[in-house]
C-alpha cells in the first residue's frame, strides 16, 4: 500500500514559480514575439514572486515542518537563506547579462528561460534532504548552465566553453551519483538526516564504503565549485561563456555546490568528521594557494577571476572545516554579489561584441570611466578581503571558525593566501588607475549600472554594518 507523502506546497513554491516563469517566457515569446522589454517584465515578476515566496517560507518555517515530501525536501533556514541568495543572484545576473540577452534576438527568451530553470534546479538542490533529490536538482541546474555557456555560439570560445563544461560537468555528476550509491550501500539511506541518525546510533560495520562514498560526493561537488585540484575547467569556461552571464553561472554553481557540501558534511556525516576534515582541509589549502598564485600570472581578467574563484573556494572550505554554517552562508552571499558585479564590469568593458577581456583593455579605465573603475575597485578590494569591506567580515568569519576547530595552521596558510590574492586584485587596480588608456571614448553602461550600485553598496554597507546579514545567517541553521 502506498501512502501519499505529506504535502507542503510552500516548500517547493519558489522553485515551481521559477519553472512556471520560464515556461511563461517561452510561451509569450512564441505567441506574441514581443520586444525584449516584455521579457524583462515577465522574468522580473517571476523572480520577485519566487523571492516573495521564499520570504514567506522564512516567516512560516518552523522546525516541525522542516521536512516535506517524505523527507525529500527540507524547509530549514539553511535552505531558505541559500535560496534567497540564488534568487538574488538570478535577478542580478539577468540585469548584468541583459544586453547580451537582448542582443540574442529571438533566442533571448531561451536564455532567460534557461537561467530561470537553472535557478530552480539549484534551488531544489540546496533544499533537498535526499541525496537523489539533490542529484536531480544538480543536474537540472547544471544542464541548463551547459547550454548557457554555449549561447554566444558566434564565438568559438563559447562553443569550447560549453563542450568543456558539459564533458567535465557530466563527469563530475557521475562521480557524485556514484558516491551517493556507495553511501546508500553503506548506510541504506538516501536521506541526509537519516544518515546522521544512523551514524549517531550505530557502529557502522563497513565504514570504508561510506568513506569512499563521501569522498566521491565531495569530489563531485568540488568540481562544481571549482575547488583545486578539480578546477581545470573554470578558466576556459569563464573565458568563453557570454560575458554578462558568466557571473551568474559561476555564482549559482558555487553557492549551490557549497550548500550541498555543507549540508552533506556538516549534517549528514558529521560523526565521521575525523576522516573527512583532513581531506577538506587539504582541498582548501591547495585551492587557496594554487588559485591565488595562478591568478597572479593571468593576462586576462576573466581567467583571473576564475582563478580567484578557485582561491575563494578554498577560503569557503576553511569555513566548512570550521563547521560554521553561518560563516559559510555569509561568505557565499557576499561573494555571490561581488562576483556578479565583477563580471558586470567585464561585460561592460568587453562591449557589445564581447571581444576579449585582456587586462590591456582595462588600462586607464579610471580616466575613461571613473565610476565604472571605482565600482570595480571596491568590488575587487571586497573580494580581496580588505577591512571596511564585507569581504573582510566574511573571511574573518570562516577563519575564526577554522581556528576554533583546531585548524590553526589552515588559518595561517589562509591569511598568507589572502595577501597573495590581494596582490593580483591590486594588479588590476594598478592597471586601471596608474596606466595610460590605450583606447579612448567612454563606455556605455546599461542595466549593469544597478548591479554595480548594489554590489558596491553590499560591499561597503555590509562591511561596516554586517550585523543584519550575520544575524540572518546565524538564524539560517540546517536541520
Amino acid at each position: 500500500m502506498i501512502t501519499p507523502p505529506e504535502i507542503s506546497w510552500l516548500a517547493i513554491a519558489p522553485d515551481l514559480a521559477l519553472t512556471l516563469g520560464a515556461a511563461l517566457v517561452l510561451l509569450v515569446d512564441v505567441q506574441w514575439k514581443p520586444v525584449a522589454r516584455v521579457h524583462a517584465w515577465v522574468s522580473g515578476v517571476t523572480v520577485a514572486v519566487a523571492a516573495g515566496l521564499t520570504v514567506a517560507q522564512w516567516i512560516q518555517a518552523a522546525p516541525a515542518d522542516a521536512l516535506a515530501f517524505s523527507g525529500l525536501i527540507t524547509m530549514d533556514g539553511f535552505a531558505i537563506f541559500t535560496r534567497l541568495v540564488l534568487i538574488a543572484a538570478t535577478a542580478l545576473g539577468l540585469a548584468a547579462g541583459w544586453r547580451f540577452v537582448a542582443g540574442l534576438g529571438r533566442r533571448g527568451a531561451e536564455a532567460i528561460a534557461l537561467v530561470l530553470l537553472a535557478t530552480s534546479g539549484f534551488s531544489l538542490m540546496v533544499a533537498s534532504n535526499n541525496l537523489v533529490m539533490m542529484f536531480m536538482g544538480l543536474e537540472v541546474g547544471s544542464i541548463a548552465l551547459y547550454v548557457v555557456a554555449g549561447l554566444a555560439r558566434e564565438r568559438r570560445e563559447s562553443e569550447e566553453a560549453a563542450i568543456k563544461y558539459f564533458l567535465l560537468g557530466s563527469f563530475a555528476s557521475a562521480i557524485f551519483i556514484y558516491g551517493v550509491a556507495l553511501i546508500y550501500a553503506g548506510t541504506g539511506q538516501f536521506e541526509i538526516v537519516g544518515i546522521r541518525d544512523l551514524l549517531a546510533g550505530f557502529v557502522v560495520s563497513s565504514p570504508a564504503v561510506i568513506y569512499i562514498g563521501v569522498g566521491l560526493v565531495v569530489v563531485g561537488l568540488a568540481f562544481k565549485v571549482s575547488a583545486a585540484p578539480f578546477h581545470a575547467w573554470a578558466p576556459d569556461v569563464y573565458q568563453g561563456a557570454p560575458a554578462g552571464l558568466v557571473g551568474y553561472m559561476a555564482t549559482v554553481a558555487k553557492v549551490a555546490g557549497f550548500a550541498a557540501i555543507a549540508r552533506i558534511l556538516l549534517t549528514g556525516v558529521l560523526d565521521l568528521s575525523g576522516s573527512w576534515l583532513p581531506v577538506v582541509a587539504g582541498i582548501s589549502v591547495v585551492s587557496m594557494l594554487l588559485g591565488s598564485v595562478l591568478a597572479l600570472v593571468q593576462g586576462d581578467v576573466r581567467r583571473l577571476l576564475a582563478y580567484s574563484g578557485v582561491s575563494h573556494a578554498g577560503f569557503i572550505m576553511t569555513g566548512v572545516v570550521g563547521g560554521a554554517t553561518d560563516a559559510v552562508l555569509f561568505y557565499l552571499a557576499i561573494y555571490a554579489i561581488q562576483l556578479i558585479g565583477a563580471f558586470a564590469v567585464v561585460a561592460v568593458v568587453a562591449g557589445p561584441d564581447a571581444a576579449g577581456s585582456s587586462i590591456d583593455q582595462y588600462r586607464g579605465l579610471g580616466r575613461r570611466s571613473p565610476l565604472l573603475a571605482g565600482a570595480f575597485t571596491v568590488i575587487l578590494l571586497g573580494m580581496g578581503g580588505l577591512p571596511v569591506t564585507s569581504g573582510f567580515v566574511a573571511k574573518f568569519g570562516v577563519f575564526t571558525g577554522a581556528w576554533a576547530e583546531g585548524y590553526e595552521w589552515l588559518v595561517i596558510v589562509a591569511v598568507v593566501a589572502t595577501v597573495v590574492a590581494l596582490a593580483f586584485y591590486i594588479r588590476v587596480i594598478v592597471v586601471m588607475y596608474m596606466d595610460e588608456a590605450q583606447e579612448e571614448g567612454t563606455l556605455r553602461i546599461g542595466p549593469e549600472r544597478w548591479v554595480l550600485v548594489l554590489a558596491v553598496a553590499a560591499t561597503i554597507l555590509w562591511g561596516i554594518f554586517p550585523a543584519s546579514l550575520l544575524d540572518l545567517a546565524a538564524d539560517a541553521l540546517p536541520i
Binding site: 571613473p370 578590494l381 580588505l386 577591512p387 571596511v388 573582510f392 574573518f396 577563519f399 575564526t400 581556528w403 576554533a404 590553526e408 588559518v411 595561517i412 591569511v415 598568507v416 589572502t418 595577501v419 590581494l422 596582490a423 591590486i426 594598478v430 588607475y433 596608474m434 554586517p466 550585523a467 550575520l470 546565524a474
Partner: protein
C-alpha cells in the same frame, strides 16, 4: 568625542567628493579647511586631557554582539600625542601639495581617508577595530604613492602594500587566536584590549602571538631586516605621502609594540627584550651608515628614519620609565622633524626637479631661508640641546642604559653618525659656491611655505624647552605599562629605571 574625531575626516572626504570634478580650484583649499576641524578637536582634547593612567573619553558601542566586537575608542597618554600629531600634519601635508597638477580631488579624498584610518588606529581599544583601521589605511596610502609618485611608483606602492599586508595577515591570525582563547577561558567572545590582556596564555602560545604581532609592527616601523620597503616607498611617494608616511604611518609600528605587545604579552615581551633591542641597535647603526652614502637627498632622510625609529624601539624595550617616555616623545619628535625635512626636500625638488645631492651646492646663497630651516631641522634631528630631539634621545639613552648598557653605548654612536650624515648632506647641498647655473636662479621660500614650516619649528622649540607639556600627559600611561609588565611577570626594572628612583635620589640630594 573620539568618534567624532574619527568621523570628521570621513565626512570631510565625502564633502570633497561631492564637489564636482570640474571645480579643480576648490578641492585642495576645501580639503585643507575641512582638515582644520579634526585638528581643532584634537587640540581641544589635548587641552582637556587629564594626566592619569587609564583610558579617557571612552566610546563603546556594540558592533556585533555574538563575536564580541565593539566600536571601542579611548585615549591615553600614549595615543594622545600621536592623534594630535596626525591631525596637525594632515593640513600641512595637504597645503604642501599645490604642485600636484592632476587628479587633485582624489588626492585630497585619499589623504582625508588616510587621516581617518590613522586616528582610528591610534584610538582603537578593540583589536578587531584596530586591525580594520590598520589595514584599511593601506589603500589610500597605496594610491597616494602609486598615482602621484615618481617613476618607479607602482613598484614601490606594491612593495609597500605586500610587505605591510603580509605582516598584518599574521597579526590577524593571532588576533583570531587570542579572541578564541578568550572564548575558551571565559565562555564569551571579546576583542577588547583589556579583556584579552587579562588572559592566561601558555608560554608557547604567548610567544607565537607575540611574534605575529611583533612582525606586523616591525615591518611597519620598520625594524632592521624588514625595512627594505621603506626607502622605495619614500623616494617614490609625493611630498605629502612621504610626510605622512614618515611622521605618522611608521609610528603605528612603534605605537603598536608599546600598546599591544606590552599589554597583551608581557611575559614574551620581557623574553624578547634582547632580540628586539639588538635589532633596534642594528637598525640605528645600519640606517645611519647607509644614510651617509646616499646620493639622493630623500633617500638619505628615509634611511635616517630607519635609524631614528631604532631609538624608539630600543627605548620601548628597555622597559624603564625614561625609555618609555623617550619612546613616546621621540615618536612625536621624529614626526615633526622628519616631516619637516621631507617637506623641505619636496620644496627643493619643486624648484630644481632633482633630489640628487650632487646636483646641488651653495644653495645657502640663493635660498637662505630654506637653508636656514633645513639647518634648524637638521639640528633638531641630531638632538641639539634646546630642541626636541635632544629630549627624546636623551631620555631613551638614559632610560636604556641601566637595562642594556652595552647596547646603549653602541646606540649612542648612532647620534654621532646622525650628525655626520645630516651635516655632511647640508654641507654638500647648501654651503660652498653655487657653481651650477640652475642653482643660481632659485626663488626662496614663499610666505605659504614658511607658514607650513613655522608651526613645526615652533613646536620643536617648545618641546625642546618645555618638555613637561608633553611628558606630564604621557608619564602616567607609560608608568602604567611598566606596572602592568611588572605585575604580570617576575621582571624587575633595573635601578635606577623608574621615575620613583630618580625622585628619591633627588630628595636625598
Amino acid at each position: 568625542m573620539l568618534t567624532a574625531l574619527v568621523l570628521l575626516p570621513v565626512v570631510a572626504a565625502i564633502v570633497v567628493m561631492l564637489v564636482p570634478g570640474g571645480r579643480r580650484e576648490v578641492h585642495l583649499p576645501l580639503g585643507i579647511a575641512l582638515s582644520i576641524f579634526p585638528l581643532a578637536l584634537a587640540g581641544y582634547l589635548f587641552w582637556v586631557f587629564e594626566p592619569a593612567a587609564g583610558f579617557q573619553y571612552v566610546d563603546r558601542v556594540t558592533w556585533y554582539e555574538p563575536w564580541g566586537i565593539d566600536w571601542h575608542l579611548g585615549v591615553d597618554g600614549i595615543s594622545l600625542p600621536m592623534v594630535v600629531l596626525t591631525t596637525l600634519l594632515v593640513p600641512i601635508a595637504l597645503a604642501a601639495s599645490t604642485s600636484i597638477d592632476r587628479r587633485i580631488k582624489e588626492f585630497v579624498v585619499y589623504t582625508l581617508f588616510l587621516e581617518a584610518g590613522l586616528i582610528g588606529a591610534f584610538l582603537s581599544l578593540d583589536l578587531f577595530l584596530f586591525f580594520v583601521f590598520f589595514e584599511a589605511m593601506l589603500i589610500p596610502m597605496y594610491f597616494i604613492i602609486g598615482i602621484w609618485g615618481s617613476e618607479r611608483r607602482i613598484y614601490a606602492a606594491m612593495k609597500f602594500l605586500i610587505y605591510t599586508a603580509f605582516g598584518s595577515a599574521l597579526m590577524l591570525a593571532a588576533i583570531i587566536g587570542l579572541a578564541l582563547t578568550h572564548v575558551d577561558q571565559t565562555g564569551s567572545a571579546s576583542f577588547a584590549l583589556s579583556d584579552l590582556a587579562a588572559l592566561d596564555l601558555s608560554v608557547g602560545a604567548e610567544r607565537l602571538f607575540f611574534a605575529a604581532f611583533a612582525i606586523a609592527f616591525a615591518i611597519k616601523v620598520p625594524l632592521f631586516p624588514f625595512h627594505t620597503w621603506l626607502p622605495d616607498a619614500h623616494v617614490e611617494a609625493p611630498t605629502a605621502g612621504s610626510v605622512l608616511l614618515a611622521a605618522v604611518l611608521l609610528k603605528l609600528g612603534t605605537y603598536g609594540l608599546l600598546r599591544f605587545n606590552m599589554a597583551l604579552f608581557p611575559e614574551a615581551s620581557v623574553d624578547a627584550i634582547p632580540i628586539m633591542a639588538i635589532l633596534a641597535v642594528i637598525g640605528i647603526i645600519y640606517g645611519a651608515v647607509v644614510a651617509i652614502v646616499q646620493p639622493d637627498l630623500k633617500k638619505l632622510v628615509a634611511y635616517s628614519s630607519v635609524s631614528h625609529l631604532g631609538f624608539i624601539v630600543l627605548g620601548t624595550f628597555a622597559l624603564t620609565s625614561g625609555g618609555l617616555q623617550g619612546a613616546v616623545i621621540q615618536n612625536v619628535n621624529h614626526g615633526l622633524t622628519t616631516g619637516a625635512l621631507f617637506l623641505l626636500v619636496g620644496m627643493i625638488y619643486d624648484r630644481r626637479h632633482t633630489k640628487k645631492i650632487a646636483d646641488f651646492g651653495g644653495l645657502q646663497k640663493t635660498v637662505p631661508l630654506l637653508a636656514g630651516f633645513f639647518l634648524f631641522m637638521t639640528f633638531a634631528s641630531i638632538g641639539l640641546p634646546g630642541l626636541n630631539g635632544f629630549i627624546g634621545e636623551f631620555l631613551v639613552l638614559m632610560g636604556s642604559f641601566p637595562a642594556l648598557p652595552s647596547l646603549t653605548v653602541i646606540a649612542a654612536l648612532g647620534v654621532v653618525l646622525a650628525a655626520i650624515y645630516l651635516l655632511w648632506a647640508y654641507e654638500r647641498v647648501f654651503t660652498g659656491v653655487p657653481d651650477k647655473d640652475e642653482n643660481k636662479a632659485l626663488s626662496d621660500l614663499s610666505a605659504r611655505e614658511i607658514a607650513l614650516l613655522a608651526p613645526l619649528a615652533a613646536l620643536i622649540v617648545v618641546i625642546g624647552i618645555y618638555p613637561g607639556l608633553l611628558l606630564d600627559k604621557i608619564t602616567p600611561s607609560t608608568e602604567a605599562v611598566i606596572d602592568h609588565v611588572v605585575e604580570q611577570t617576575d621582571f624587575v626594572v633595573p635601578e635606577p629605571g623608574r621615575i620613583a628612583d630618580v625622585h628619591v635620589a633627588g630628595d636625598e640630594g
